[in-house]
């Protein structure tokens, strides 16, 4: 199961303060679905405008990125251009 670290605000508002959750998913789209069925509304909340770090690599517009059994997934704000 992949380890998912939620953004603080999302954890507080939609996951009862739970910051780290384990999710079974093969790619990012499945991961969002799984999160949404466990915490209704979270899918929408995390669909746009967030970046995600999967095993240390940051993706600005995540969608079908592969998630491994032991992946670590972090949600981050999108990084703006300077």
């Amino acid at each position: 199961m992949a380890k998912v670290v939620l953004p603080n605000e999302v954890a507080r508002e939609l996951a009862g303060g739970l910051k780290e959750v384990e999710v079974e998913a093969e790619n990012y789209r499945q991961l969002l679905k799984a999160l949404d069925s466990r915490f209704p509304g979270m899918g929408d909340r995390l669909r746009d405008g967030v970046a995600v770090a999967i095993d240390g690599e940051i993706f600005q517009e995540p969608f079908l990125e592969l998630i491994r059994e032991d992946s670590e997934v972090f949600f981050l704000p999108q990084i703006e251009a300077g």
Partner: protein, 761 residues
């Protein structure tokens, strides 16, 4: 200096840039250089008040001026509902953008656009500007970030309720949002510390300071088709933003990028473009708007002013156990400072188990801030890197050794959460430590400071194409405005992948209708992402070239390899054939299947973060408070330098912008909330005589996920200088400048304050 030198023919060399000749002869066309027949001059009416309700606008006298063809106000732009929308670049609040481009109901800062005119001459336009009567009800204002956070502060937006706090606030405030990043357990981190340092660090708003003011020519046809020529960091951004603000579709607007005279993040949004379009739509003629310098200062950019609190704990032997920071950034009149990014960057160079950073995004009566090189990071790094300097002193440790002992490495959990992959931070500290500069002798009143910095770098949506001309030369279609030599990098990478001469490749930067979408030039993404797309397009071309050669030789394409710019038989089993050059294949393309070209559209993945470490020597004049930068060395992990001269140039330019931020540049507001220094005379950017040469050390830890190992390089170099300079001042005179810029009056006051207790003894 790299192992790569031998492997590559063009990567790592320093050829003259393809657009260079035009730029040294005055032929290159920048934003203000474009004209159209029948073009009108557009000028903008700006609020003289920091905060005022607009009770009414009477344009009748202006319209009566001979030559005046149109006046527009917010009423000429559709009202856009609040909320964020996704466009190519990411989420954007178009209501805010619209209200910033043209004030609706309230003027929120000195310089805020409230109306615009178009006339046949500049004189007529200016007279019309003077005759537009705006009925202002002046409101109380606030320009300071801490004052704006007070409960009784004048309120900018009645509908702003702080996001990110529980319970949800019942009263509106100027605090748009609060964010928090945590790692480990802060309390136990500090409990494990033997030494704790803390401080408050203030930086003032600074402007990106590009020398070219914003400029645009817009033309709206009778059929509603629009053309815009302008200077920006992204023609697709201009198209999408203008379309949203004017209620159009992207397909109605074609944007042609001019050469861009600097941006540094300040041209990642729009100001005059939609206004020129609205005026042109109304007047039925092309309209050109060029900002004056004072308009640039009053209404565009700048970066946030910031208030940062930092606390760091460490064990006696120099292991940092906890880092805590609170950042308060003013965003200008609309939410969206880069405080979140600041929160993520401050502690990023270090391996710390327990970190917390909290950020507040605060609106004030100032122009909406825009990105400025590594947005948010320099202010955070100023706090953290100053505190680390204090920590090193308390521990009796060399400040670089302290950084090295705590350096983030591959596998380290970044302070903002995820684990780093391949990074070269420690290598930059080691290079600084072993640099001769670090051991050079210092004289009286002289001091040396060091500091490090981090930036993520970004990838994103990108396109590129490679067309092979009939004579075997090539065109690289590079969709990103060339702000600092990127055409040269693209030509180098195209030449490298095709195996042909650099001089046979010509890059062009086309309009929005001639090439697929690409994200902006910014975030240090272009050499990385467009380079990746160019290489992919090149590989497609090579595949096609192998097919063509296979046809000519009547063999299987697998039997053909592409080497040194020629098609050759893969082995003698394929047959004995003379190699076919690119020129030969191009010349016979009519017979083998028509023109040869390759295009790539990608969402570039696999960015490599960047780190830099700077060493700065200064001399402080105790009589005047003046600071002279004596010597400066910028070390950075650049992945791989495609064109080292332009990479060095990024390091030098970024460092000097940081030096300006540290020593002289600041927005100064009057009691009335008006900007007091909207010109280069009083807003003092560094000039040649202020500076020494800026030495650079390019550390190359290649990014394995880029075909040539590229990381972004442009953002990082502005991050370390604020603290590097402030730390140097401290070591020169014993006074820590917690408030930048350390301009002569401010430093002199600090020196005097430090002397007082002595005098009292």
């Amino acid at each position: 200096m790299s192992d790569s030198a031998s492997r590559f023919k063009w990567v790592g060399t320093r050829p003259v840039r393809p657009d260079g000749l035009d730029k040294v002869t005055g032929r290159a066309n920048f934003g203000a250089d474009f004209t159209m027949p029948g073009m009108l001059v557009g000028r903008i009416v700006r609020s003289p008040h920091a905060h005022a309700r607009i009770a009414g606008i009477d344009a009748s006298a202006a319209l009566a001026v001979p030559g005046v063809k149109a006046v527009v106000t917010a009423e000429d732009f559709p009202e856009i509902p609040d909320g964020e929308l996704m466009v190519g670049e990411g989420p954007m609040n178009f209501r805010d953008l619209s209200c910033n481009v043209m004030a609706r109901d309230k003027a929120l800062y000195d310089g805020h656009a409230v109306a615009a005119v178009a006339a046949t001459s500049r004189a007529a336009a200016e007279e019309a500007v003077d005759r537009i009567r705006v009925d202002y009800e002046v409101l109380p204002h606030v320009v300071d970030v801490l004052e704006a956070m007070e409960p009784d502060a004048p309120l900018l937006h009645e509908t702003m309720f702080t996001e990110g706090v529980e319970p949800k606030p019942e009263r509106p405030s100027n605090v748009a949002s609060r964010c928090e990043f945590t790692l480990g357990d802060l309390d136990s981190g500090f409990a494990a510390a033997d030494v704790v340092v803390e401080g408050e660090y203030v930086t003032e708003a600074v402007h990106q300071g590009y020398i070219e003011p914003h400029a645009a020519v817009a033309s709206v046809g009778e059929d509603g088709q629009c053309t815009v020529w302008c200077s920006s960091q992204g023609q697709f951004m201009v198209r999408a933003y203008c379309a949203k603000l004017l209620g159009m579709e992207n397909s109605q607007i074609r944007v042609t990028p001019s050469e861009i005279g600097g941006g540094f993040g300040g041209k990642t949004t729009i100001y005059v473009e939609p206004v020129a379009l609205a005026l042109s739509r109304k007047a039925g003629r092309p309209v050109k708007i060029v900002m004056d310098r004072d308009e640039v200062f009053r209404a565009t950019g700048p970066t946030s002013s910031a208030h940062v609190k930092v606390r760091v704990g460490a064990t006696r032997d120099g292991k940092i156990t906890a880092g805590d920071a609170e950042l308060r950034f003013q965003a200008g009149a609309f939410s969206g400072s880069h405080v979140q990014l600041g929160c993520m960057c401050g502690f990023a160079p270090y391996d710390i188990d327990n970190v917390r950073t909290v950020g507040y995004d605060v609106v004030v009566n100032r122009p909406k801030c825009a990105a400025y090189r590594a947005p948010g990071a320099p202010m955070a790094a100023f706090g953290v890197e100053s505190a680390l300097d204090d920590l090193a002193e308390k521990l009796g440790m060399d400040p670089l050794e302290l950084r090295l002992a705590n350096a983030a490495r591959e596998g380290t959990k970044a302070a903002y959460g995820p684990k780093f992959r391949e990074i070269g931070y420690a290598e930059t500290v080691e290079a600084a430590l072993s640099h001769e500069h670090y051991r050079a002798k210092l004289g009286p009143n002289q001091g040396r400071g060091v500091a490090s910095g981090f930036w993520f770098n970004i990838g994103g949506q990108t396109s590129a194409a490679l067309h092979i001309n009939e004579d075997g030369t090539a065109v690289v279609v590079d969709p990103n405005p060339d702000i600092g030599g990127s055409r040269a990098s693209m030509a180098i990478m195209a030449a490298e992948v095709l195996g042909i001469d650099y001089d046979r490749v010509r890059p062009i930067v086309p309009d929005t209708s001639s090439v697929p979408y690409s994200d902006m030039t910014g975030g240090s993404r272009v050499t990385f992402s467009v380079g990746m797309a160019v290489v992919e397009a090149g590989q497609k071309v090579i595949e096609e070239l192998r097919n063509r050669a296979a046809k000519i030789w009547d063999v299987d394409p697998d039997g053909v390899v592409w080497e040194n710019g020629e098609a050759r038989p893969a082995s003698s089993n394929v047959g004995e054939f003379e190699p076919l050059s690119l020129t030969a294949l191009a010349e016979s393309s009519a017979k083998t299947g028509g023109p040869i070209s390759g295009q790539a559209t990608i969402n570039a993945r696999g960015v490599g973060p960047g780190f830099g470490t700077h060493v700065c020597d200064v001399e402080v004049d105790p009589e005047t408070g003046g600071v002279t930068v004596l010597r400066y060395t910028a070390v950075q992990d650049v992945g791989r330098a495609i064109h080292p001269s332009y990479v060095e140039g990024q390091l030098q330019g970024g460092a000097v912008q940081g030096i300006g931020w540290a020593l002289n540049e600041e927005y100064v507001y009057s009691e009335a909330g008006t900007l007091e220094n909207p010109g280069f005379l009083d807003y003092r950017v560094p000039v040649a005589s202020d500076l020494p040469m800026i030495d650079t050390v390019l550390v190359e830890v290649p990014n394995p996920r880029h075909p040539y190992g590229v990381r972004g390089v442009g953002e990082v170099p502005i991050v370390p200088p604020l603290a590097a300079v402030a730390n140097a001042i401290y070591h020169a005179c014993g006074t820590r400048m917690n408030h930048l810029p350390a301009s002569p009056p401010r430093l002199l006051a600090a020196l005097d304050a430090a002397k007082l207790p002595e005098a009292a003894d």
